[in-house]
Subunit: 358 residues, 2 copies
């Protein structure tokens, strides 16, 4: 704790000293949250067996350096969103965009995708056709090709409609150096648009909102936005798409990877009034809710104005805003400066707030 002001306000155990996670002998929903429980599972079960320098990069995609010095990005994501269709998208669009975005977040130009389908016996063929059509539209928009696939069928009750795992391969231009470990004190934090839209739209589709809403998921491929950003300025140090765990999860990861603090200003956070209202009613915090068409960028201060302008000129960055900066104080913590001027540490989620959102 380097900041006395912070020490004073973060008295509660969840704010300043997260409670230790219980040891569980079984998988629970919280292990899929993208928060602390997921991280604990990965560190206890996956890294000890499978850890290697590429896996341990801990970015949205693995970056593979080839013998000739060129770099490939490779990533994978399972998609189990429920329901399959929601305002603004469906599991097919989500599967393509999620993988495209994970590639773009390491500076790669996404090129080739694979898709594995696990179908539940009884799934209407027309639902599958609609989802595949949606994948095609998203792939066309992102300029990627689906080059390999697989289809399995599980008996009724052993799956839930369908699950899609997409993997993606992209090429990283030689001049780009983007990863979670490059944030430096003084860097500017930019978010590309409103926060929490996807998670709240999926909740609405489940009928979990007690009121009518015109909310739609933001699910979109962000690779073209990223290209526009690099065209405007090379000083992009970190990119992250705040999916599971929301903005808080992404910024917290960056603090850990770069060994820096980040301070964001509540009053600058772009949040749609309908999302804010839904969250207030349901007791959710939009800073922890998944987005599927937003990115957070950590950029050099001198380049921030040009990069921000390029984002605002793009269809998927119209509401881009500077929301904070990287600091060398706060003891490597993520801190929110509230609209009334106080400061509060933001910890990543422990367990699951919204299961099956992506």
């Amino acid at each position: 704790m380097t900041s006395p002001e912070l020490t004073k306000i973060s008295a509660g155990p969840t704010a300043c000293c997260p409670l230790p996670l219980p040891h569980l002998s079984q998988i629970v929903l919280g292990h899929g949250s993208g928060g602390r429980m997921t991280q604990a599972l990965i560190e206890a079960t996956f890294y000890p067996e499978l850890g290697n320098p590429l896996l341990l990069q801990r970015d949205d995609s693995a970056v593979i350096e080839m013998a000739d010095g060129s770099r490939l990005a490779l990533t994978t994501d399972a998609h189990i969103v429920s329901p399959l269709f929601f305002p603004g998208g469906d599991i097919g669009r989500l599967a393509v965009c999620g993988t495209v975005n994970d590639l773009a977040m390491v500076g790669a130009q996404p090129r080739w995708l694979t898709a594995s389908f696990i179908l539940e016996e009884g799934l209407p063929r027309q639902d599958l056709a609609r989802i595949v059509g949606s994948m095609r539209a998203a792939a066309d928009e992102a300029g990627v090709l689906l080059v390999a696939g697989d289809t399995k069928v599980a008996e009724r009750g052993k799956c839930d409609g369908l699950f899609i795992t997409t993997s993606g391969l992209g090429l990283i231009p030689a001049d780009r150096q983007v990863n979670g470990g490059r944030a430096q004190p003084g860097d500017i934090v930019i978010v590309s648009g409103t926060l929490g839209d996807h998670g709240v739209a999926v909740l609405a589709a489940r009928g979990d909102l007690a009121f009518e809403s015109d909310l739609a998921s933001d699910v979109a491929p962000l690779n073209d936005l990223v290209e526009a950003m690099f065209a405007a300025g090379a000083g992009i140090r970190v990119l992250r798409d705040p999916t599971r765990g929301g903005l808080t999860g992404s910024l917290h990861d960056i603090c850990q990877q770069s060994g820096v603090g980040i301070e964001i200003n509540e009053s600058q956070l772009p949040i749609d009034p309908s999302v804010a209202a839904a969250c207030e009613m349901l007791g959710f915090d939009p800073l922890y809710i998944a987005n599927e068409g937003k990115l957070v960028a950590i950029v050099e201060p001198s380049e921030a104005p040009a990069i921000l302008a390029a984002m605002q000129a793009h269809a998927y960055g119209k509401q881009a805003r500077v929301i904070g900066s990287v600091t060398d104080v706060n003891g490597g913590r993520l801190v929110l400066r509230t609209s009334i001027g106080s400061r509060r540490a933001l910890e990543p989620m422990s367990g699951e707030m919204l299961p099956r959102i992506c």
Copy 2:
């Protein structure tokens, strides 16, 4: 029909003129069989939307040509085998080997894998740990790195223990040209070992055999065997691992892709006596049962002896045998010459014989 002998014996509709598949409005287990129903689903639903020259290669991996002329192989497979553990392996070993083998079957040297886990709430952590350990052992054996992963959790009853989707990336040496379209009349058909072991071992693990059995799955990474084969002779035209759909499915695909016929000799097919006994009792045909550690190779006749010898000198090819040859007759059909000398057309499966085998 160019062969009157064949015409005469293939009088039944299933042998000579497969019945048309019914139009189904829902997904059924047969759509996951790897046989005709899977192919029909892919052709009706996936190819019209997503078809592109890379996807339409129809080999075990997509082959991607880079700007500098080098070639990458990319593949994906979902694994939903039930039970998770079976004699000779488990879903983790299966997931790694399946992807390694799909890369090796286009002549690639497998290098990097990704794994997406969908876990069911309630899965014992120790089962997961055992499966991850098994993946690591298989990856070490194959010499591949797992470089990216994802973990999702579905509510109890919305998944079945766990599903694993693995994707893989490999490099194809410049001098290798291996794909399903290269078989030529006169080429020799070699299989690397006994047929049907995996499928029958999984059945045994389900308790579906009425007798005690020491059968074990053959699940194994075949990339080192493939390297030994290429070291022995460059005349390898087609490689395929006969998983879902069994040997019949793989050879039928090759007939279609190359526009040739293939004739195999029943008396030369290596089948373990326990597998043969189990199949006879249960009414299965080992030529249609999935293997997970076997390959079929179509090779130039002059190179066949050296390649066969190299296979037999390898731990995973000890029982390799020549089982037949490629022909320009039979009207592009796969034909079995039975041990009593008659000839019978082998059609791919229509629906599902053994669900959840891989």
